[in-house]
Symmetry: C2
Subunit: 344 residues, 2 copies
């Protein structure tokens, strides 16, 4: 019989179809067409003159901005969702509320080479990418109009990526806190008020004890398929030591190692599936005193959610807010562990 499992953080129910029990080869992953030939890819080294001026780059010393010699390059999105200049202008319109889409929309180009999947970069390069995530978040935290920075990756057309096969990340800075983050904060706070413990820390302890959903554990990080996974082969990556804010991360190399291992396992098990990953971190807490800050720190634990996009969202999911997952997370973790993750 199928199960309804409840996500303990936001209380969302997921239907886990234990009978259907889809295995990796039950999913047909369509190959995306390559649209642009490599020499025309604007994100490759050597094409710097044809892009907008870079916002930031991690680059070799003694190289010039907007020239070669970079490891990771941050560009303004040419068709930005959020604009960086202007006032927020929060206002009413009859019974409705609106504001201007003020914030930032940056593209983080993860490698000067024409490589599509972050899983295929080496650990040193992935480490550079995460260092840039931290740097950009710290920089945008200084803008008082911005309440949240959402870093996400779209890999493959089914995951919302464009057909240009050059690995990159979307950074979107927002003047409001995302609904999803507010739900997680509220859920984690309820749990903390009840138990005086971080719900994510308790989940980590539970997973280590049970040993049935763990995908990887190394260098202070853990990766597991969450109990109420929404998507087949969904994996969460968390620092084992409690930490609410991603931008305080020092051990970017540890994160690079585990992310390399997990994304490789997904790529090998599921034959290069489309996926998204999203960094979930606490909102900027500028309004609060350092004293308050300490006590509320336990309402969040930053983590990365990786979601292969193998299933379609239909009317039932849109209408209910539920998800249907045909692969139990215990089975998903077992399949992923049959693969050797890190191959360099």
């Amino acid at each position: 019989m199928s199960q309804l499992r409840k996500d303990p953080i936001i209380g969302r129910w997921v239907i886990i179809s234990t009978e259907r029990g889809k295995r990796p080869h039950d999913f047909v992953v369509q190959k995306d067409p390559e649209v642009l030939p490599e020499k025309q890819c604007l994100f490759c080294q050597g094409q710097e003159a044809d892009t907008p001026a870079e916002i930031y780059a991690a680059r070799e010393s003694n190289t010039l901005a907007n020239a070669s010699g970079w490891y990771v390059r941050v560009l303004p999105n040419i068709d930005p969702l959020m604009q960086s200049s202007g006032d927020i202008g929060r206002r009413g319109m009859g019974m409705f509320d609106l504001m201007n889409a003020i914030g930032a929309h940056e593209l983080i180009v993860e490698t000067p080479k024409h490589i599509a999947n972050i899983a295929d970069l080496d650990i040193a390069q992935i480490n550079q990418v995460f260092k840039v995530y931290v740097q950009r978040t710290r920089e945008l935290e200084k803008d008082p109009r911005i309440k949240y920075v959402l870093i996400s990756k779209n890999y493959g057309i089914a995951a919302g990526a464009s057909p240009i096969k050059h690995s990159r990340t979307q950074l979107i800075a927002l003047p409001v806190n995302p609904k999803r983050v507010k739900e997680e904060l509220a859920g984690a706070r309820r749990y903390y008020e009840f138990r005086e413990r971080c719900i994510f820390c308790d989940m980590i302890e539970h997973e280590i004890e049970k040993q049935v959903r763990i995908v990887d554990r190394m260098d202070g990080f853990i990766a597991f398929c969450p109990y109420a996974s929404r998507f087949p082969f969904e994996v969460w990556v968390l620092p084992e030591d409690h930490s609410a804010d991603f931008f305080n991360l020092k051990n970017t190399e540890g994160l690079a190692k585990i992310m390399k291992s997990v994304t490789r396992k997904l790529s090998v098990s599921l034959q290069d599936p489309p996926y998204n990953y999203i960094i979930h971190t606490a909102p900027f807490r500028r309004m609060t005193s350092p004293e308050y800050w300490k006590t509320i720190d336990y309402d969040y634990h930053w983590h990365i959610e990786i979601m292969p996009r193998l299933t379609k969202v239909a009317g039932f999911e849109l209408g209910s807010g539920f998800y249907i997952n045909p692969t139990p997370p215990e089975a998903a973790a077992e399949f992923l562990n049959q693969q050797q993750g890190e191959k360099q």
Copy 2:
């Protein structure tokens, strides 16, 4: 500049991209392949012996169950998400909660003919379909294990439909209230406590006054593109007179007329797009006294949400709970109104 618009009911922000301003021909609708030839379609008249026994059928008098002569036929889903026999068995598992997937999963076959889109049925036939929706909901309301009946349609593969091009509806009965419905109830209740009016009734009044987002108005129903539309060309259909519960609907013919008109307009404007529609209705209120029932009736207003599936959900949307809509609803309504809806 793009706008952030807030859905007044559940408080979700939507990014409306006013510059991108995508028009109908900017969306490329892929044609789905027809997989099964017509003679093998199990949902067609004449194939009754090869399907599971019908749960219910609207049929000509003096015809037998599981024989020809039906207008609308209700079948059990052969691979059900929710099973009808067994106990709910709500229980804990360490720090987690789960229950058995008990409820019902029915398939409503909307026509004995091999027609793919409800937009192509005549009004009398669509009326029969809505009568069956009401009948099945009333019937399932009698099962004390069931808290909610969610009726939804998937049209086209991108909307989660199977490749069999025979118009049908999914009915899923649940032992818990959907997250999305709870959010709507909470939002509408907050509004009612503040203003002592139904938020949906106020939206209808606002739309009639503004006249910029209305798609159709006939027979006691109104259709408009909501102010904070998540999807390009999203349309909501509501009864103009206040009513919380879909299963109390008497004027199924009026609903059939406006749904025919709206789905035709979408089909013609967007060249037969994939879409979902979902009936949003109040949960069954068995626990409450008739007196209480009267006062809480204003926390909901049943309606149908129609969502063409022209855009992809990427990491940003999954991580934030926001939506990005490249077509302002005012422009969408204008495009839809350039089409003659009802053509019979």
